[in-house]
Point group: C2
Chain length 205, copies 2
DNA sequence: GTCTGTGAACGCATTCACAGCA
DNA sequence: TGCTGTGAATGCGTTCACAGAC
């Protein structure tokens, strides 16, 4: 049996987002080349990616928007809702708590933690803020799978250790330093400075 | 002449950040395998990457921390300061304006723009907020190179068009939709929802 | 003719295996 | 022995070229 690559999955998530927007515009058919224009990919790439999921398109017509979206979603997300735990309710943490893009049926922010006593027992966007000490207990209770690190760099490793102990399987790390976790935990680092410097150096070439 | 790949540059930025942290701890020597542990890369990968910049290391000793950092920085950034323009001063925009990681000698946020009159002429972290109408004029004046889109998805294309007209060469797009720009402009999309779903599906495999 | 689907070719990036050096 | 540096081999992802369907 053929296995799907991570790159294909990541692009498929992009396709899903584009298909959702097309559905809002009542577009019920879409060709690989149109989807390529929207997502910045190539038409062949898109057909190759989709071909993994079977013969979905119709020659001379293209793909049925709704059907394609359903097929991609069913394979990748399987009706799951992803439960998120946030660590650090500073400026970035607050922005994440209020992020409107999460008001979807697929992602649910279920817990937020902070060290500072002044922030505790407040509620932001309907989510209560708890002390870090209670995180392991609460994460297990609400069955969170993914954690977000939005604490200052000095505390990121400490928070990462807690996350691993609490049973989180994936981490987004916004702190500007590397964290060390077991190989079984998937970490995605997003460092604003590095992103900017990366873009800058790309434009210099 | 051999050309450097984007992947190598992106990793080099990670190495630089790690080397800076090591310097703070007064570590003046570092081996490729130690750096690999920190950054999550492999030792061979690191030696291959560094070898592009010449013979920098010493067998049986490793790399001199400061020297390696200087060599990487000089090649990639060449004493440049990157000037950033921010579009959208909502929750995320404010978090970016206050982001402490930018208080570096390499990145400077020089302009912020918003549509809402209520936000104008305020100042956040020493940066004044201007109306979008003045963006082209001001971006040219302060010589910004990179733009950040932190506006709602409905306005992202509009803002992207302004950025291109204003002469920005690179864009970070935090809005959850694709933008269409000339190929000469480098765009990096960061969609929190997609990042989370990507991590989640990775953990499912 | 116009779209999808796909084996084959290609190119790039990582890994391997080992030479070189102190 | 313990590190760097690097040609060769491998593997993976994208692109090409074209068959198949309508």
């Amino acid at each position: 049996m053929k296995t799907i690559s991570r790159k294909t999955i990541d692009r498929a998530l992009l396709y899903i987002r584009a298909l959702e927007n097309l559905l809002k515009e009542k577009r019920d058919k879409i060709s690989s080349s149109e989807l390529a224009d929207i997502t910045g990919s190539s038409d062949v790439q898109i057909r190759k990616d989709i071909s993994f999921f079977g013969k979905v398109g119709v020659p001379r017509v293209g793909y049925e928007t709704k059907r394609l979206k359903d097929i991609l979603e069913n394979f990748i997300l399987q009706d799951n809702i992803v439960h998120i735990a946030l660590f650090g309710v500073g400026n970035l943490g607050k922005a994440i708590l209020k992020y409107p893009g999460f008001q979807t049926d697929k992602i649910k922010l279920v817990a937020a933690f902070d060290k500072a006593k002044s922030k505790l027992s407040k509620e932001i966007n309907g989510i209560k803020i708890y002390p870090v000490e209670r995180s392991a207990e609460l994460i297990k209770k609400v069955h969170a799978e993914i954690g977000i690190i939005a604490v200052p760099p000095g505390s990121s490793q400490e928070v990462a250790d807690i996350m691993v102990k609490s049973g989180l399987k994936g981490i987004i790390n916004f702190a500007p330093n590397c964290i060390s976790v077991p190989k079984s935990i998937y970490v995605k680092n997003i460092d604003f400075s590095i992103e900017i410097l990366s873009i800058f150096s790309h434009t210099q070439l």
